[in-house]
Subunit: 416 residues, 2 copies
């Protein structure tokens, strides 16, 4: 949580942090500002101190909404700085940062964060380094970084936003199910559009994108609505030209985000329209069994990967391959159980079998649970996924409830 | 153009370039790959050589679509590298980059580009520096960077995509005009929704966002649909709660982007619904006069800022303030004439009065022309903007034609 930042800075031996870039689509800056139309900003925070946000003058209204201490870049007149920099804009940025650091008495180890232009940042820091040798800039690999640790546990306001995205997600999933089951079906079991052309994955995705946009959610690029063989490839997004047919597994994995780079939800259901083949039904029942078992076995403060090991064992007992005893399996259970979820669609805690032991199911984490089985050569795949919050009292809340039906009955088709 | 990259590298004394990050929402990587769901990629190109794209193994299908020479990261097994790195993921990334550079015989000055995580990049480069002293990484401030120069001129395929976004943009502007003029009007000249509540800026923007989404365009955050006093503030996006009224200037400045971080279009019209006040009509006529004059005075290979100076002179002749003789005016003509347009909504060439002399109207540039006049205290503002392409033969093409009507006649309201 944000309230952990100072103690995390201490454990990482950081005297201050420097966050660069826009407030939107930039998780560390979004985390500290709450987003908004604030571009090319600079945020500094000393350990134990409050953050200060430096912004473009014309964005002062948006900056004020953050509730942070703000200062306009106009207090560092660019004409004057550019002259001092001999016309070099990278040096000008370094001079401005130097003034900001000196005014705030920042020295020592300073953690550098943000998602922005690496070329301009590198050029600026190259100049800065020579000017303030008392500052040591520190970068961190993403997964172990200060923000990944802080963001790992959520406060109730963050959970409320994830829950709200979950509500939108499941509404859109419900609309999709209604739309599919209302289609007319041709003799060869292909679903039809109103103009009697075959309904394709692309047609369905277009509607999903609209339904999300209507609700103020961004349809994350690359979400999955795949049928048949593609459903058996966990990373296939689905081929837009594929036709919707009865009796084939459809994997629908959707992770919309709040507009502007806010919180995600992550959700998967697998459907078979009209009827299911016995083989697909068996696969579904097995995944459902393991999903339920996982849901019953969340243990407060246990390593998340223990649940993944449980999942592997259960699937192996059923005769499937899993990463526990097969390196990089291509069929069976081929991924890990889940991941943390927040301003990043994938974040700490991790559940992979090689995840560090400090990836724990602590109070406050929001994680996905998404066991699945994949048989691309048989043209089928099944995954079930909910996102859950480990509450402060240790109980588990599914943040958006939705039925687990596998076979979706068609409104105007019956199996003969 | 992309074909200029080698000569630009030569003029910047760069032996190679290194581009990091996703293919989407990352202009340099998008420029070289054409976008697609390719995440955390590495692209290297020696001067005079072809680019090579290194990608995650599961994204090989997307990587292949780029048409570039591709290699999977799986050829640099992470378990082995991580072991060599003593478990440090930043060092592991540096070791992988070292292998890539050595295999490609890359040394000397290497330009670093991309929009990605600065913390992880900085940590990786800190390790890399000690390992390959024969490589000097070079960052560049954005506006003068290699990619800003290369992107400045567009090939016909790029222009076709900008033109296509222009078509979508003007379609949506037309739908907006039809929607506004079909509204019922209350006795106090406020427009009404179907449920007879007052129509607000927020209501209109919701529809605009949907119409864009239906056409596969992303409504850029912060686009402008503003009325009255807000129309007089060129950077105000419009207050969502403001009511639509007859006889007030509405500035509608919209710059949608292709999904995934592709090409932009940029377009503005100013409207007054039902009727215009004489003062607003005069302001509109003046902006229109200057807009037409600008359109007639595009001179091949002339500095773009000459057109801005012309605009300032014309407005000053009419008695308005402009930056030519008033430092940072707050009313009158308060911005510059336009900017280049492509994968960035603002890019080279620049038209500001202080722009460097190499910002020329060269064949292949796509620029906006957007003169405007602003009087916030009088509650009005006017801007007219089209995006144009300077064709190889030196003629100017407006990339999306749209009428220049100021007063939009209401379908069910007549001035008494």
């Amino acid at each position: 949580m944000k309230s952990d930042l100072d103690s995390l800075m201490q454990s990482k031996n950081l005297d201050a942090i420097l966050v660069l870039g826009n407030a939107e689509n930039n998780p560390p800056m979004y985390y500290l500002t709450g987003g908004g139309h604030i571009s090319a900003a600079t945020l500094v925070k000393k350990r134990g101190g409050e953050p200060a946000l430096f912004h473009q003058d014309m964005e002062r209204g948006e900056a004020a909404k953050t509730g942070l201490k703000t200062r306009s870049y106009s207090e560092y007149p660019w004409q004057e700085l550019l002259k001092e920099a001999g016309g070099d804009p990278a040096l000008m940025s370094a001079l401005r940062l130097e003034r900001i650091f000196k005014e705030h008495n920042i020295s020592g180890r300073v953690g550098l964060y943000g998602h922005t232009d690496i070329s301009a940042t590198f050029a600026m820091l190259a100049h800065f380094k020579g000017r303030m040798p008392e500052v040591e800039m520190v970068g961190e690999a993403r997964d172990g970084s200060l923000f990944m640790y802080a963001m790992e546990t959520k406060d109730e306001a963050e959970v409320a936003r994830i829950r709200r995205m979950g509500k939108i997600t499941t509404e859109v999933v419900g609309l999709t199910a209604d739309f599919l089951t209302s289609r007319q079906v041709r003799a060869d079991e292909v679903l039809l559009n109103e103009d009697e052309t075959p309904l394709t994955v692309g047609d369905v995705k277009e509607r999903i994108n609209l339904w999300l946009a209507e609700r103020g959610a961004v349809p994350s690029e690359g979400y999955i609505f795949s049928i048949g063989r593609d459903a058996g490839l966990p990373h296939s997004q689905g081929n837009p030209a594929d036709r919707l047919r009865l009796g084939q597994t459809i994997v629908f994995d959707i992770y919309p985000q709040e507009i502007g780079g806010g919180y995600f939800y992550d959700f998967t259901r697998t459907w078979s329209l009209g009827y299911a083949t016995p083989e697909a039904q068996k696969l579904y029942d097995q995944v459902r069994h393991v999903f339920d078992k996982v849901m019953e076995n969340f243990t407060l403060n246990a390593p998340f990967k223990d649940l993944n090991t449980l999942t592997c064992r259960e699937f192996e007992k059923m005769g499937h391959q899993s990463p526990l005893n097969t390196p990089a399996p291509v069929e069976g259970y081929v991924h890990s159980l889940g991941h943390g979820l927040g301003l990043n669609v994938h974040e700490r805690p991790w559940s992979g079998l090689t995840a560090a032991p400090d990836n724990l199911l602590k109070p406050g984490v929001v994680v996905t649970a998404e066991p699945g089985l994949y048989y691309p050569e048989k043209g089928m795949g099944v995954r079930i996924e909910d996102s859950v919050w480990i509450k402060p009292d240790g109980t588990v809340e599914i943040l958006a409830e939705y039925p687990y039906d596998f076979i979706l009955e068609m409104k105007s088709w019956r199996k003969e």
